[in-house]
C-alpha cells in the first residue's frame, strides 16, 4: 500500500490518528501526546520530584539535562534508594523550567561543572524518604497497625505482623492525604541501588532511535528557520537580496533579527536555498587582520605584561635567585571547539498568550529569561521542554540559538525550528580560549623543588558568562588548577594576564583545567627531570600532606606497571589533576615514530577518586569518554582563524579522535568515602600531560604546544 506524505498531509494524519486537540509534549522517551485531564489521574505527588501512579509506576522529574553523563539514571537511583522502590517501576521525566526545579546551590536551573549529583543528592534523598514515610503511614492506617509494624521493600509496604504486603501503587490515594513530612528519616542499613552499576534508563531509546534530541523535534505547522550570520567578528551587512529568496517554492519570510538575517520556509532545503539567494555582502568586521598567527603572537607577547597575583606564597623572586638550578618554559595552547555531535538548534513557538521552547539546553533558567524578554510573557506562560542533548560540554549553556528561534517565531507567529549546519556550529562557537603561560621553577642543591612561578595569559570566560564570579579581576577558570595546585612548594606565585580578543570564549568540558593541568603536569615533569628524579617519586615527595592523592598516584602507577621495563620503543608518562571535587591520575603508554612523527598511544590507565560512587559503570564511562576527548585535544584539535573570523569549518579541517587512534583504556575506581566529587569533567585534564610526559621519555622531546601533531614532533626531533 502506498502512503502519500507531503509534509502537511503527514502531520494531519499522525495528529488525527491520535485524536489530538491539546498539547504535544516531549518526554525523554519520545514524543508524548497527552490529554491535559490525564494529569488528574495521578493521585500521589508528594513533591515536585516524583509521582507514583495507581498502576505502580514511579516517575522521577529530573531538573538536570541528560547529555550523556547518565544523570537521568543517577538522580533516579538516589530517589529510588530512599523510596525503597523497585527499580523496574522507575521512569524519568525532564522537568520544565520552574522555580521549584532550580538547583538548590546555584539558585538557577542548569547543568554544568560536574555538579548535578553533588547539588541534588540531599534534596532527592529527602524527596524519596518523605514519600516512603507517607506510604508507610497510609499502609499503617489501612491495616490499623503502628507504623513501626510496617517495613518497605522493592516498592511494597509489608505488615510485619501478618506478612501481608501492598504495592505503593495501591496506596497512592491514601498516601496523598498524608501530610508531607519536612524532616523525613533517611533509610539505614546498606544500600540496594547506590553503588551498583544499574543499566541506564536512557539507553534503550538511544539504541532504537526513538530518543528525541532537539534536532528531532517536530511541531505541527512549524517552519524551518536558518540565519545568515557575519563571517568575520563584528561584521555588518552591506547589502542583501530581499526578493530572490521569496521566489523559492515554500519560502515564507526574510526577517532581519539581532544575530543576522533569518530566512524561513516550509522545508529545510527551501530555507537553505533561500539563505544562499540572499547573496549577503558583509563588511570585513572589527579586526580583519585577526588570524591564528596574530592570536598566537598576542598570547605570547602578553607574557611580558604584569599580571594580577592570584597566589603568592613565600618569596618566589628570592628563591629563584638562590636556586641551584632554574628551569623556564613557555607553553602555548590553541582555541578549541566543542564539536557537539548534535549541532546547535532550538524550536520555539511564541503566541500571544503562551510560549513553548523545545531545546537541548544546559541552561533552563537562561532560556526561560530569554523567552520572557522576547515574548513579553510571564514565566508561567512559558514552557521550556528540555530534550536529550547530543552532548553539551558547556556549549549548551549559551542561549544564542534560542534567541534566534524565539525572534523568528515571534516575527512569523509560527512554530520555528532553527537547526544549524556543522559549518555554522563550528564557526559560531564559544571556544575554549587559546592561552599561553610562562613557568619558572627552582631546585635547591639537593634537587628539592623550592619555587614555582606561573604566569598564564588567557581570555576571560567568566567576565562575559558570570561576571559575579570574577574576584579582584581574576577569572577563576583562568587559574583553576594552578592557584590551587596540590604540590607543597614553599614559594609559589601565580599571575593572571587577561587578554581580550574578538573571539567569544566559553565553558568547555573541564574549563580552565583543560589547559592548566597540561602546563602544571608537564612542568612538574620538567622539574623532576632537572632534578634527576623519577616523575612519580618526585610528585609523591611533594604530596606529603595529601595521602588521598598519594594513594591514587601509587594505584595508577602500580596498575600501569610503572618502574618495570616497558615494551621496546614504548614509554610511560604520568599526570594527575584535581578538579570539580575529584582526583584523577592517569598513565599513558606511548611510542613515537621518529620518521613520520606519529605519536601512538597504546594504553591509558586511569585511577579516579570521586569520594563515594552512585553508579560505578557511569563513572567508568565518564572516565573513558574524558580520556578520549582529552586525547583528541592532545593530538588533533585546534581552531584556525583567518580574515577576522573562523577558518575551521567542518570535520575535515577540525579533526577529532577516531576509533583507530583510541588506546586501550583501563579505569580503576579508588573508593575513599570522602565527599561526593564530580565525574563529567575530571577525566579530561590529565591525559594530555600524561602523553606529553611519555613522549619526552620515549623520544627525548618536550612538547609544550598543543596539539602534538606529527609535524610538531618531527620539528622537535630535528631541533633535538
Amino acid at each position: 500500500m502506498s502512503r502519500p506524505v507531503t509534509r502537511r498531509e503527514f502531520l494531519k494524519k499522525s495528529l488525527a490518528s491520535a485524536g489530538l486537540t491539546i498539547a504535544v509534549s516531549i518526554t525523554p522517551f519520545g514524543h508524548k501526546i497527552f490529554a491535559i485531564e490525564n494529569e488528574k489521574d495521578i493521585p500521589f505527588k508528594p513533591s515536585v520530584w516524583l509521582q507514583i501512579s495507581p498502576d505502580n509506576m514511579i516517575t522521577v522529574s529530573v531538573n538536570k539535562s541528560e547529555m550523556g553523563q547518565g544523570i537521568y539514571t543517577s538522580l533516579s537511583m538516589i530517589v529510588a534508594e530512599e523510596l525503597d522502590a523497585d527499580w523496574k517501576q522507575i521512569t524519568v521525566k525532564s522537568a520544565s523550567a520552574r522555580d521549584e526545579y532550580k538547583d538548590p546551590v546555584w539558585g538557577s536551573q542548569g547543568t554544568g561543572g560536574s555538579t548535578s549529583v553533588r547539588h541534588m543528592h540531599d534534596t532527592l534523598q529527602k524527596a524519596g524518604a518523605a514519600a516512603r514515610e507517607m506510604l508507610v503511614k497510609a499502609a499503617a492506617q489501612k491495616w490499623g497497625i503502628e507504623e513501626s509494624d510496617c517495613e518497605t521493600s522493592s516498592g511494597t509496604v509489608r505488615n510485619k505482623k501478618d506478612g501481608r504486603s501492598i504495592s505503593y501503587g495501591s496506596l497512592t490515594e491514601k498516601a496523598a492525604q498524608m501530610e508531607v513530612p519536612q524532616q523525613p528519616k533517611l533509610k539505614t542499613g546498606h544500600s540496594k541501588l547506590i553503588g551498583t552499576s544499574i543499566a541506564r534508563l536512557d539507553i534503550p531509546a538511544k539504541v532504537n532511535g526513538s530518543a528525541v534530541f532537539g534536532f528531532d523535534v517536530q511541531i505541527q505547522g512549524m517552519l524551518y528557520g536558518t540565519v545568515e550570520r557575519p563571517p568575520a567578528y563584528g561584521a555588518k551587512v552591506i547589502s542583501y537580496d530581499k526578493e530572490s529568496p521569496l521566489k523559492i517554492s515554500g519560502m515564507h519570510r526574510v526577517v532581519p533579527i539581532t544575530r543576522g538575517i533569518a530566512v524561513c520556509a516550509d522545508t529545510i532545503d527551501a530555507a537553505w536555498s533561500g539563505k544562499k539567494a540572499l547573496k549577503t555582502i558583509w563588511d570585513r568586521g572589527i579586526q580583519p587582520t585577526m588570524d591564528t598567527k596574530s592570536l598566537e603572537s598576542d598570547l605570547l607577547s602578553y607574557l611580558d605584561n604584569n599580571g594580577l597575583v592570584a597566589r603568592n606564597d613565600g618569596n618566589v623572586t628570592e628563591a629563584l635567585k638562590k636556586a641551584a638550578k632554574r628551569v623556564e618554559a613557555v607553553y602555548l595552547l590553541p582555541y578549541l571547539s566543542h564539536v557537539n555531535m548534535e549541532p546547535m538548534n532550538c524550536t520555539a513557538f511564541v503566541r500571544k498568550e503562551a510560549c513553548d521552547v523545545w531545546v537541548p539546553t544546559q541552561n533552563q533558567t537562561g532560556v526561560l529569561e530569554l523567552a520572557k524578554k522576547i515574548s513579553g510573557l510571564k514565566a508561567d506562560q512559558i514552557n521550556v521542554h528540555t530534550t536529550y542533548l547530543g552532548t553539551g560540554f558547556g556549549r549548551r549553556f549559551e542561549t544564542d540559538v534560542v534567541e534566534e528561534a524565539l525572534e523568528i517565531s515571534k516575527a512569523t507567529g509560527k512554530p520555528v525550528k532553527v537547526i544549524w549546519t556543522r559549518e555554522e556550529d563550528m564557526k559560531n562557537d564559544f571556544y575554549r580560549p587559546g592561552n599561553s603561560c610562562r613557568i619558572e621553577g627552582a631546585l635547591d642543591d639537593k634537587g628539592n623543588l623550592i619555587a614555582w612561578s606561573h604566569k598564564v595569559v588567557v581570555p576571560s570566560i567568566f567576565a562575559r558568562a558570570m561576571p559575579g564570579a570574577v574576584k579582584n579581576g581574576i577569572d577563576p577558570a583562568a587559574v583553576e588548577g594552578i592557584e590551587n595546585m596540590h604540590y607543597q612548594i614553599e614559594n609559589i606565585r601565580v599571575e593572571y594576564v587577561r587578554i581580550d580578543t574578538p573571539v567569544p570564549v566559553g565553558f568547555w568540558r573541564s574549563v580552565g583545567s583543560t589547559h592548566n593541568a597540561f602546563t602544571v603536569e608537564s612542568f612538574i615533569d620538567e622539574m623532576a627531570n632537572a632534578a634527576g628524579r623519577d616523575p612519580l617519586v618526585f610528585r609523591l615527595s611533594l604530596l606529603k600532606n595529601n595521602p588521598r592523592l598519594r594513594r591514587l598516584l601509587e594505584t595508577v602507577a602500580e596498575k600501569a606497571g610503572w618502574g618495570k621495563q616497558p615494551k621496546t620503543g614504548q614509554a610511560l608518562g604520568i599526570a594527575q589533576h584535581f578538579c570539580f571535587g575529584s582526583y584523577v591520575a592517569q598513565v599513558a603508554e606511548v611510542s613515537v615514530n621518529r620518521q613520520n612523527g606519529q605519536i601512538k598511544v597504546h594504553r591509558v590507565i586511569c585511577a579516579v577518586d570521586c569520594g563515594s560512587v552512585i553508579n560505578p559503570d557511569t563513572v567508568k564511562a565518564q572516565m573513558e569518554g574524558g580520556i578520549i576527548m582529552g586525547l583528541s585535544t592532545a593530538l588533533k584539535e585546534k581552531v584556525e582563524f583567518a580574515d577576522g573570523g573562523v577558518r575551521s569549518s567542518n570535520l575535515h579541517n577540525y579533526e577529532v579522535l577516531r576509533m583507530n587512534e583510541t588506546p586501550e583504556i583501563e579505569v580503576h575506581i579508588v573508593v575513599s568515602n570522602e565527599k561526593l566529587g564530580g565525574i563529567g569533567e575530571p577525566g579530561v585534564p590529565p591525559v594530555a600531560p600524561a602523553v606529553a610526559n611519555a613522549v619526552f621519555k620515549a623520544a627525548g622531546i618536550r612538547l609544550r604546544n598543543l596539539p602534538m601533531t606529527p609535524e610538531t614532533v618531527v620539528s622537535a626531533l630535528r631541533k633535538g
Binding site: 502519500p4 506524505v5 536529550y388 542533548l389 573513558e624
Partner: protein
Amino acid sequence: MIKLTVNEEEYKVDVLPGVPLLWVIREYLKLTGTKYVCGLGLCGSCTVHIDGKAVRSCQVPVNDAVGKKITTIEGIPEDHPVKQAWIKEQVPQCGYCQPGQIMEAMAFLSEKKNPTEKEIINHMSGNLCRCGTYPRIKLAIKTAAQKGGRQ
C-alpha cells in the same frame, strides 16, 4: 512526487530530487533516528542501509534511492543481536551518533561474521563519537558477533 521504500513501507514525498536522502528521511518522513552531524560523509551518523549496504545518507540525492530498499534504525527489530549487544555493553552516552554506529556495525557483521579486533577498528573508524564510546562499541560488536550476528 518521489516514491521511496523505507522500512518496508512505501512513501510518496513532495521533494526536489537533489535533496539528500538524510533530510528527506528526517524532516519529511519524520524518521528522526537517523542523525545529521557533518553533511560531508565524514562522521557516519547518517548511516542507513540501501539494499543491505551501509550508506551515508547525507551523500545520496533522494532521487538515487528511488526503487531501492532503504532501512533506517527504526526498521531494525528490537531483538536484533547488535541492538541487544549495544544495551548489554551500555554503549551510548549522549546517544546521538549511535543509530549510525549500529547501522554501520550491522552491515559490517553481515559481511564479516567473526571480525578480528583490527578489522573492527579499521571498519568502524569512519564513524565518529564525541563522547568516546569507542571501547564499548568495539566490545558490543564482539558480543554481537559471538551471538552469531544475523543479517
